[in-house]
Symmetry: C2
């Protein structure tokens, strides 16, 4: 692909209704937000929770087992690590039992992530806002049973936490590790992203209100996530690897630069 910017088709499920000028349906924008999120919120319905959906925080990355060289703008699957989600695993297992011609097999899930980039303090409380980047995906989750695909997903997810961490940690996995770890694969049905950047938007009547202008501080408070100095274990024998120090430096630089640039737009 690569020549065209692919977009998720707008449907009833994924269309952004409010402030639709802030929406994006581009696969690259949505997938890169998902992949830069340390945690994803995964919502699903359970038969035992009356009418409440459930949200679990999970770790995940977008990828393509069939075409590992695919880039973020290509159609991809979402792989989720099942550490915190035994309940969901059971549902995905039972939902993915063969159902003949039903292409939508799997547990229906919604995945969402948001970064807060700034607090926007306006003259009126009602013009207060946030700069943010959020992404939402809808899809069907099934349990990965193929060992090669499972290994691919584990490496993908580990390297999503810290680049190159899979190779930099103890290899290969033991049979017990492979068996005790479950991976969910979400086949994506649709998705959307939503952004806000820029500064304060005050109403004209507030800008012309000299009383208010003399009393209310207006401006932007930038918010960014930082990684602090690495803290080695007491038994660590190895110098902090370049892959870790580079990751920390890039993470901090990219986050702060994005947030400050977005505030000035």
């Amino acid at each position: 692909m690569g020549r065209h910017t692919l977009e998720y088709p707008k449907t009833k499920t994924n269309t952004v209704r409010r402030k639709s000028d802030r929406a994006s349906y581009a696969l690259s924008a949505i997938h890169s937000l998902i992949n830069s999120s340390q945690l994803l919120n995964v919502a699903f319905n359970t038969p035992d929770s009356s009418s409440f959906p459930t949200i679990l925080p999970m770790i995940g990355q977008m990828g393509s087992f069939d075409r590992p060289s695919a880039d973020l703008g290509d159609p991809l699957d979402l792989y989720l690590h099942g550490y915190v989600s035994s309940r969901m695993m059971n549902l995905a297992r039972s939902s993915s039992s063969p159902q003949g011609e039903d292409k939508e097999q799997g547990l229906p899930v919604c995945i969402a992530t948001s970064h807060v980039d700034a607090l926007i303090l306006a003259t009126s409380p009602f013009n207060h806002s946030y700069n943010y980047r959020s992404a939402t995906l809808f899809g069907h989750a099934t349990l990965v049973t193929d060992d090669a695909e499972k290994l691919y997903a584990m490496e993908l997810i580990t390297n999503g936490v810290v680049p190159d961490r899979w190779r930099a940690s103890r290899q290969p996995p033991t049979p017990a590790e492979m068996q005790s770890t479950s991976i969910l694969k979400v086949t994506i049905a649709s998705g959307s992203a939503k952004f806000r950047d820029g500064g304060v938007h005050d109403d004209r009547h507030d800008l012309e209100d000299e009383d208010a202008r003399g009393q209310v501080w207006t401006g932007v408070l930038p918010v960014f996530s930082r990684i602090g100095e690495p803290i080695p274990t007491s038994y660590n024998k190895v110098e902090t690897p370049v892959s870790v120090t580079d990751f920390v430096r890039n993470f901090n630089k990219e986050n702060e630069e994005y947030v400050l640039a977005a505030a000035k737009k």
Copy 2:
């Protein structure tokens, strides 16, 4: 109240199944995590989204309109600001129509928030983990129609973004502002929190593996949210108020201190 630590009763809906020693059902722990979150993930089912639940990021705070002096350990309601959720508002409105003796009227919602506090890099990729704090609430959302309660919730939510911001911004609200803003009130049915702190937990066989010990860096990467230097608007005439500078300093200090202390537990 105050003499006893109140807990949400464990039911099928809210019981933490995996790593249950990391769970808490204390109202104070859950409510304070919700109130310190800049965004909440709110999941609900819509009639038009086939079987997918939907997640929207919303701003919210726990409070009690009937007893404003209630503390975080008391039974509280969750007030959500409806800026991004016109779809949800419509559902809450239609779900909250009078239904006789039905006490559970309102739109069933799940609310979740997570803070990532550290990346835990172990010898084996399978012992990698996060330090985190997460909270989940289940409840029924209805639209606030009483003007006094709406005003209470707007002040509560604004002061949840920056302490004292309601009073420090232009007052009173205009009739148009009051009318164009919607507030959802979630009556809480149950909830839970889940935590992980501490350092790396390696398996004995990895600790005894001299090859691995000589090759793999193990340790903790602390993660914390920071607020940068306030950026005033071009037309701002007022010095940065103490309420803002105090907030920025306390936010940064408390976040970093918590994260570093948790990593050392």
